[in-house]
């Protein structure tokens, strides 16, 4: 119709107008008449009438577009101009507040992100000064997740803020593409929380946490912008509304797009004072959005959103994330509590929980980057965490699934001379030692070591990746198939264990051996990957089984005990394992054919050679030697040695020493071994190391917050699986042992793990690993008055307070071998009381004159006593026994001993003079801690069932035991009653273990 002229249009238009003025029903008749003889005219008008009926055309006026364009143009209008000391290079867009430009600082030539704050924001001098003060505070923090502020300057009526230039996108931009996956969201959240924690500790509240204020750099760093800046606008916005007559119109427009109201806290919505917890709430909204792609509080208008923030509970995460870990929901809920007293009180607590969750969640992170972004971790917490019996991957005979006994408490020093079944319990004891070692963890910070001086050839772990394969918290042992495609693992609590095969690529699990009440140990794949071999207790014996990898009928290969994982020879025709021979005080390294026949003893060791270590054999790739770890030297440190298959000759291959080694495995190219070993600080933390061969140089593969136990490598050594075990008790006080009234009194995680004891005046002495090594602390029962008693007590365990309140005794390796030490109750005047090769588990008689303890020599474990003022010690028993505790009347001793007839550890009562047990109880000290009741009428001991520990009482008169406490969750690691018997202190907390895949090893 472009050729239509003005006159023709007027004709068309007038008929069109007239038609429109008529009801639709009359139009046809009208048009028939009006356009008679001119079909073009009729067609023209008809088409206009049809178009007129199109309702949505031009309903969206262009003036809003024009306004947006104006704004965008305005942003670019400053380009090339000089403002203050800066030349504007280009617009970077609108940041959190005001527009941001890329600018050049003219004196330094430094490129900065320059934010222009209009004078209106800065006309309150006091406010500006406060802002500048905060900016300087934030500047001083120099936190990697807080944008660096270079300068604040005033140019005319404009205030300039120059900050570092950050490449990348805002979280808002990232969110426009949808939700983040869990690992990504956690990574971002942890960095934001880290920024908040640092700022809050410096007294700066952000006040305007939202996705627009979070930058994501391509290298994974997250930067939080504009700390404290929002403070400048808080009042200003009110002033603006009265100043501008049109302001109200804008504000009340129902169609307006919601701005920052979306991330407002309830207290902000109410106009109340904000504090650090306000940021936590805004963070929670943002975190929720990151996880789900949805807002937790939504509404059509600003006031609807504010109403939702004040009144509504957000939809559960599970609605969007059906597989969200419970802990995640817990964290989100806690950040979004309407009452700020119910929120995380500090961002640091939030950070700790997030980090812990991250460790528990599936993640795939390049080790180096992971290290650089999460260093500084200093604690862990267990929000809603699973409970499970504590187990380790490598070391876990079922009898040992609960806890070390008081007897066996000082984990790495545990010695036993009789095997756990038939002839004793040796391996079980060692296993328990590991459990304790494995379990006592402190977080030092995730920091994968930078490559050291090792050459590239011997330093193959640069690009290591870590991925958690399970998140149940009760996956206790694992082995990876030679081809790296499958991981077999044990899942379920003691007595409920089954064997699952995980297909790594798909994440699917298949049960290959069902639970039958008997527990598993020593998983490994056959050399060709077609069978899984394992040991499974049957009537006290640990035979070796194999089952087809996809399930089937298990076949018993060796009917006698197999006390370690088997390690196959390179040709797969034979395997090596260890078997304890407790009657002889010996352990044998045995070779057998792959079908279990033709056992051959290669070498024999004393029990003490392995105390605290699993004698975990690994057959070298050349077939000539088998590596084992055992103790050498007087200080009881552990080394890796090779045993020649031809003649059993030993050779030490590294000069590096560890407190203990849990597992070891040769690399396929014989360039070295991978081991899991205890931290030198004896924090009970275990990391994975690489030991180069033949040079013997040792270097950490992991150096992080986790505790790794167990080890299984693929055939090409490109990947390994391990188990990450966590145990983080705090002290709890339960009046009269009443679980319902129990209160947590410390929060350092790991408190009391190596011992807790009441003083006569009602304070509590306990071990702590909060500062990276074991220390002795004291605290009041209300949690106040925390004070360090002693810091330099290596491997300290088992503090016991003298009944007269003068001394604390404990075992420590502070002078070399573990011995019994005494300090004054105020921590002063340390005195070494014993000089044996390995003394532990001290206790003091009621008259405060004698210290009873467990002394271990090469293959014997005996009770001894020594005067509290020092002097000659005396032996009390001539059979395997330990963990003596004197009854309140001073006449008897309760202790753990090995019942030869029943082939297991029991608890017995003996005379104060020593000699054989007078009374025995069917309580396994391997699974329990025990103590006299304060009236001396019963022995109290712990029982762990389904991952929950409670205290039971066994009357000395032999009547049936009774349950004393009624906790519904978590495990108890240590306990002590106050001297008046009215208060119970517990080292109590959750336990978890999960399978971790470490890949890209080579």
């Amino acid at each position: 119709m472009a050729d239509m002229n003005r006159e023709r249009w007027q004709e068309v238009d007038s008929i069109f107008e007239a038609a429109l003025a008529r009801p639709a029903s009359e139009r046809d008749a009208f048009l028939d008449e009006a356009c008679a003889g001119d079909p073009d005219l009729r067609a023209e008008v008809d088409s206009l009438i049809a178009s007129e009926a199109t309702e949505d055309f031009m309903n969206d006026p262009a003036f809003t577009d024009a306004a947006r364009v104006l704004v965008q143009n305005a942003r670019h209008s400053l380009t090339g101009q000089t403002i203050g000391s800066y030349q504007i290079l280009e617009s970077l867009g609108a940041g959190g507040m005001g527009e941001v430009y890329l600018a050049l600082h003219l004196r330094t030539n430094r490129k900065v992100a320059l934010k222009l704050l209009p004078a209106a924001f800065m006309n309150d001098g006091q406010r500006v000064r406060r802002f500048q003060q905060e900016a300087r505070t934030v500047l001083a923090l120099n936190h990697p997740n807080i944008v660096t502020v270079y300068d604040i300057e005033q140019a005319g009526d404009t205030h300039l803020i120059a900050t570092e230039v950050i490449e990348g996108e805002t979280l808002r931009q990232r969110l426009s593409r949808g939700a983040l996956d869990l690992a990504e969201a956690l990574d971002v959240a942890i960095q934001i929380a880290g920024a908040l924690a640092a700022a809050h500790e410096a007294g700066v509240v952000h006040r305007d946490i939202k996705p627009e204020n979070v930058m994501l750099r391509p290298d994974g760093f997250v930067k939080v912008l504009d700390f404290g800046l929002a403070k400048l606008t808080e009042r200003e916005q009110r002033e603006t509304s009265s100043e501008l007559p049109t302001r109200a119109l804008v504000r009340t427009d129902a169609g307006m797009v919601i701005g920052t109201a979306n991330y407002m806290s309830p207290e902000q919505a109410r106009g109340q004072e904000v504090d650090a917890r306000t940021d936590t709430f805004s963070f929670g909204i943002m975190f929720y959005e990151m996880l789900t792609g949805n807002m937790p509080f939504s509404g059509g208008t600003k006031s609807d959103v504010m109403a939702a923030i004040l009144q509504n509970e957000p939809p559960p995460l599970a609605r969007f994330l059906p597989k969200a870990p419970e802990a995640l929901e817990w964290i989100v809920t806690k950040t979004l509590a309407k009452n700020r007293d119910e929120r995380y009180q500090t961002a640091k607590e939030l950070l700790t929980d997030l980090k812990r969750l991250k460790r528990r969640s599936d993640y795939q992170v390049e080790a180096a980057r992971f290290g650089s972004t999460t260093s500084g971790d200093s604690g862990f917490v267990a929000p809603g965490s699973d409970t499970a019996t504590n187990r380790t991957a490598a070391a876990d005979p079922p009898a040992a699934t609960a806890e070390a006994t008081r007897t066996l408490s000082s984990a790495e020093y545990v010695i036993s001379e009789i095997k756990r079944h038939k002839r004793g319990v040796m391996f079980t004891v060692a296993g328990i030692a590991f459990l304790v070692i494995a379990a006592i963890g402190i977080v030092i910070g995730i920091r994968y070591l930078r490559p050291t001086s090792l050459s590239q050839a011997t330093n193959p772990f640069r690009q290591t990746k870590v991925a958690k394969l399970t998140t149940t918290g009760n996956a206790s042992q694992a082995a990876i198939s030679p081809d790296g495609k499958y991981v077999v693992h044990v899942t379920g609590g003691a007595g409920k264990q089954s064997l699952l095969l995980r297909h790594i690529a798909t994440g699917s699990d298949k049960e290959i051996v069902a639970a039958n009440g008997n527990d598993f140990s020593w998983l490994t794949f056959s050399r060709d990957g077609s069978y899984v071999l394992y040991s499974r207790v049957e009537a006290g014996i640990y035979p070796l089984f194999q089952v087809p990898v996809l399930g089937g009928t298990p076949q018993k290969l060796i009917a006698d005990d197999v006390d370690t994982r088997v390690s196959f020879s390179p040709d797969g025709k034979r395997f090596a394992f260890m078997r304890g021979e407790p009657q002889k005080g010996e352990t044998s390294l045995i070779l057998a054919n792959a079908d279990g026949t033709h056992e051959q003893v290669l070498s024999k060791y004393k029990v003490s050679d392995f105390s605290g270590n699993w004698p975990f054999p690994s057959w070298a790739p050349d077939g000539q030697t088998i590596a084992v770890a055992h103790r050498t030297g007087n200080d009881r440190s552990t080394n890796v040695v090779t045993v020649r298959v031809a003649d059993g000759q030993e050779k030490q291959i590294t000069s590096q020493q560890w407190p203990n080694i849990l597992a070891l495995s040769w690399l396929a190219d014989a360039q070295g071994l991978v081991i899991t070993a205890g931290e030198p600080e004896a924090t009970y933390q275990h990391q994975i190391w690489f030991v180069s061969y033949p040079s013997g140089e040792a270097r950490k593969i992991t150096s992080d917050a986790n505790n790794y136990v167990g080890l299984s490598l693929t055939e090409d050594s490109s990947s390994l699986v391990t188990v990450q075990a966590e145990q983080a008790p705090n002290l709890w006080l339960a009046p009269n042992g009443d679980a319902a009234r129990a209160k947590q009194i410390t929060s350092s995680r790991g408190d009391g793990l190596a011992g807790v004891a009441f003083t006569p005046d009602g304070r509590i002495v306990y071990t702590s690993v909060a500062h990276g090594s074991r220390e002795l602390w004291v605290v009041n029962t209300d949690g106040s008055g925390q004070k360090q008693l002693m810091s330099d007590a290596k491997a300290m365990a088992g503090p016991f307070v003298s009944p007269d309140g003068r001394y604390v005794v404990f075992s420590s390796a502070r002078a070399g071998a573990p011995n019994i030490w005494r300090i004054n109750i105020d921590g002063s005047n340390p005195k070494q009381l014993t000089t044996g090769t390995h003394d532990q588990t001290p206790s003091i008689s009621p008259d405060s004159r004698w210290v009873f303890y467990t002394a271990t020599e090469s293959d014997k474990q005996r009770l001894r006593k020594v005067p509290i003022d020092g002097g000659e010690s005396e032996q009390l028993t001539d059979y395997s026994s330990g963990g003596a505790l004197v009854s309140p009347d001073g006449k008897q001793i309760a202790c753990a001993y090995i019942d030869i007839a029943k082939k297991r550890w029991s608890i017995g009562v003996i005379s104060i003079e020593g000699g054989p047990p007078i009374k025995t109880f069917e309580i396994s000290p391997l699974q329990a801690r025990f103590q006299w009741s304060y009236d001396g009428r019963a022995v109290l001991y712990t029982v762990t069932r389904d991952g929950v520990t409670n205290i039971w009482s066994q009357p000395i008169d032999g009547s049936p035991p009774k349950q004393v406490t009624d906790f519904k969750s978590d495990q108890i690691f240590r306990f002590d009653w106050s001297h008046d018997g009215k208060r119970l202190v517990l080292a109590r907390g959750p336990v978890s273990s999960d399978v971790v895949l470490i890949s890209n090893l080579r």
Partner: protein
């Protein structure tokens, strides 16, 4: 921050001159109005963090209140000012849309920078360019209707304001609007 500066008095004189038929006055007025609109947009941006909440009527109203000396104002001046503003808004918008559509066709690299969501979607930019061209066509055969569309659609004015500028009745504005809309729709879709 270099901008033509003018006093409200000067602006008012120019507006009066233009409404009295002085075409040169318009040439002087346009940059002043444009600058003022940009300045205001700038301020709105700072308060609202993005352009979404901007209302052109509010913007233009405010520009008018700031640019024009209220004591010297004749009531017609306001209408004329709005007409200028609407024209300005249309020009700014279509310039932008054209550039965007051009860039989209490969005519130039468009910079996407921090937090910068385009003011227009590509689809919207193309639609606006086409509409502008169609409106130019309408102006050739029916200038009044094209001005109704310009004032209402690009200037964001109400029916009453449009009637005031064009010195026609509100009924006429409404009827013109409907018929112009139908015509434009048919031009674009047909």
């Amino acid at each position: 921050m270099t901008a033509p500066e003018s006093s409200p008095h000067e602006m008012t004189q120019l507006l009066a001159a233009w409404s009295d038929g002085d075409r040169e006055a318009l040439d002087k007025l346009l940059p002043l109005v444009e600058h003022e609109l940009h300045r205001l947009a700038h301020r709105y941006m700072n308060h609202e963090r993005d352009g979404h909440t901007l209302q052109t009527t509010a913007l233009v109203n405010e520009a008018y209140l700031r640019l024009i000396d209220q004591r010297e104002m004749r009531w017609q001046n306001r209408a004329h000012f709005f007409a200028i503003a609407a024209q300005m808004m249309r020009r700014i918008l279509i310039d932008h849309a054209r550039k965007q559509a051009y860039a989209k066709r490969g005519g130039g690299a468009r910079k996407v920078s921090l937090d910068e969501v385009d003011a227009l979607t590509d689809e919207r930019a193309q639609e606006l360019v086409a509409l502008d061209e169609a409106l130019a066509g309408l102006a050739r055969i029916d200038e009044r209707k094209s001005r109704v569309v310009e004032l209402r659609f690009f200037g964001g004015m109400s029916v009453e304001e449009t009637a005031e500028v064009l010195k026609i009745s509100t009924d006429t504005v409404t009827r013109d609007w409907h018929r112009a809309r139908a015509w434009l729709h048919r031009e674009l879709k047909g």
